[in-house]
Point group: C3
């Protein structure tokens, strides 16, 4: 596989670029960068922005696609098959597993951990220190905060469990915990803990187990892992099934109690 | 009219560029692109991003102005006198009429239809499938959704009637319909139908016909088409008048009932 | 101090560039621009975008740092030690004092005044005409509006007092006034006046003087100027102390009444 660097791009000697990597028009790649085989970096990106020697290189896995106008700092570690929208910002200390999808205008503020197969839509700010489990979904215009008395040096980042769903415009207040397979409605403000496999309604009350959440017209119901698996690679299907069973188990236990 | 392509720009041979078109510093224009006479494309844009042969070319009308850091995909059709802010994203299948104004950081997610003379301010995400009527206004930080049970393959896009006004930070929930000349208050969540020429208050209740909406200090009242026409070209004034009369008629009928 | 202009940048002759200024890859600097000593302009920026002769030049102070993909129009005046994130937009008529920090994706819409040492986080839109006092904090996803009957030509911009704190996702409605040292909770909608040193809760009620606002776990309490001064240069400390005393005085008076 041959590399292809567009005419107005700059790839600094010293950057470690895998076979088949393409670099788009106008993009600059700095020195402390490692990019895996077959990854595409599109137009006008800034890759490996210097952030001090102690943070280590920027690592981008193989078969990834970073779209135009992205900014990725030195010191982030991003797994294989990453896919970003346009105009994203990824800071030092962001660590993401396999196949993260990060929507346009979203930012990963650094020193945070994201599992495998996570989907984050656009305009979402993932605050420093956040922990996000495998297969979680975060829709547009969400905010993951960390300061309980702004501005202060107190630091209470948030966590989101595997398979959880955070709908558009939700605000995750400092220190809150969203359980595995939980569902946070559009516009909700999460101040505390949402138990596993539980729905938090827009008005902030806990509205029961997520398997009661149904679209009446179609009969489709949660957990989403029963009906929405097409977007994942075959290698992920066994893990999806296992998580689905675990979440259904939590629903049953919640119902019984 | 002579064309002017800035030194660090790239205009791919095969792109069909009208007379008098200017292309700014750093911008790249791909092959499947048609740009009308007199249009300005500013700095650092990506125009005609490839999206597969089946989507057709990107068409941008005449006398348009696309500001810096914009991304426009192949397969969008944008009418004459388009004006965008900075950092916008426009995807395949977006179809807009004449004189759309799209604010900075906003995105048109594709497969959507926008009428003539629509104004959309910044940071607004127009979801896939949305239908927006002529002369509608959508202010900053609004979201037009389409999935009633996220994440799912269910698809219930929203519609906004001609002359309607959606204020800052409103969320249009899947499948909702905002009537012609209706008004949605700042921060409101539209879950259902807002009838023609009706106000939806921030707390979600329908608050009467829009001609009761008045700024007490100045005495100016809605519908806005009575007092705010300066921003439109003379060719639009007859259509504005007709729409104003129709909306006033709806107010009168609403009041009578 | 020697200047350093990256290879793919353009610095227009006629721009007045101080000693030690660096200009990043791909950036373009137009003619009506003055940049102070030691300032760094990073990659893919558009600096001094023309806005008509009457607005005057763009002035950027010394020792500033403008990060990638920024857009700054001619006719803005930005004090020393400015620091911006990525993808910001600053329009004509924006006037900011010393050491403004403006987060990624935020915009200053023009004809507005910002004091010294102000911090604005990301995705925040500062509407035209806004007045922001020294040492104020505005967190992410806030909106400062100005039109009381949108769309109209009525113009009622907002003001934020010195040392005030506006938390994430707040909406400042047209004409509202946030007092000196006041605190607006996350997601609140400010419709009217928040008195000096007073807390506005998320549900919109005034919740008492800000010195009752405490993180129970740590015992840290407001006003923040007592416990959070490390981010400011030594030259600002005397002014911070004076403002803190003034705010504590307002708390005491509020409590007495």
């Amino acid at each position: 596989m041959s590399q292809d660097f567009a005419p107005h791009s700059v790839v600094t000697p010293g950057a470690r670029i895998g076979p088949g990597v393409t670099v788009g028009h106008g993009t600059i790649i700095y020195e402390q960068v490692e990019i895996g085989e077959g990854t595409k970096i599109d137009e006008h990106c800034v890759i490996g922005l210097p952030a001090g020697d102690e943070v280590g290189p920027l690592r981008i896995g193989r078969d990834s696609h970073i779209r135009s106008h992205a900014v990725c700092y030195q010191g982030a570690e991003l797994g294989d098959a990453l896919e970003t929208g346009h105009h994203v910002v990824i800071r030092s200390g962001a660590r993401a597993g396999e196949n993260l999808r990060l929507g346009s205008f979203s930012s990963l503020e650094g020193d945070l951990t994201i599992g495998d197969y996570v989907r984050i839509h656009g305009y979402t700010q993932v605050g420093r220190g956040s922990q996000i489990g495998d297969f979680a979904w975060i829709f547009s215009l969400c905010t993951l905060t960390n300061d309980p008395l702004p501005p202060s040096d107190l630091f209470r980042p948030v966590s989101i469990g595997a398979g959880a769903v955070i709908c558009v415009g939700a605000t995750l207040m400092p220190g809150c915990r969203v359980g595995r397979g939980a569902f946070v409605a559009a516009g909700a403000r999460v101040a505390d803990t949402v138990p596993d496999a539980t729905v938090l309604a827009a008005d902030g009350h806990l509205a029961g187990p997520i398997d009661r959440l149904m679209n009446l017209e179609s009969g489709v119901s949660h957990p989403w892992l029963r009906h929405f698996t097409a977007g994942y690679p075959p290698s992920a299907h066994a893990r999806l099934s296992q998580l689905r069973d675990e979440i259904l188990g939590a629903c049953a236990r919640g119902f019984a109690s």
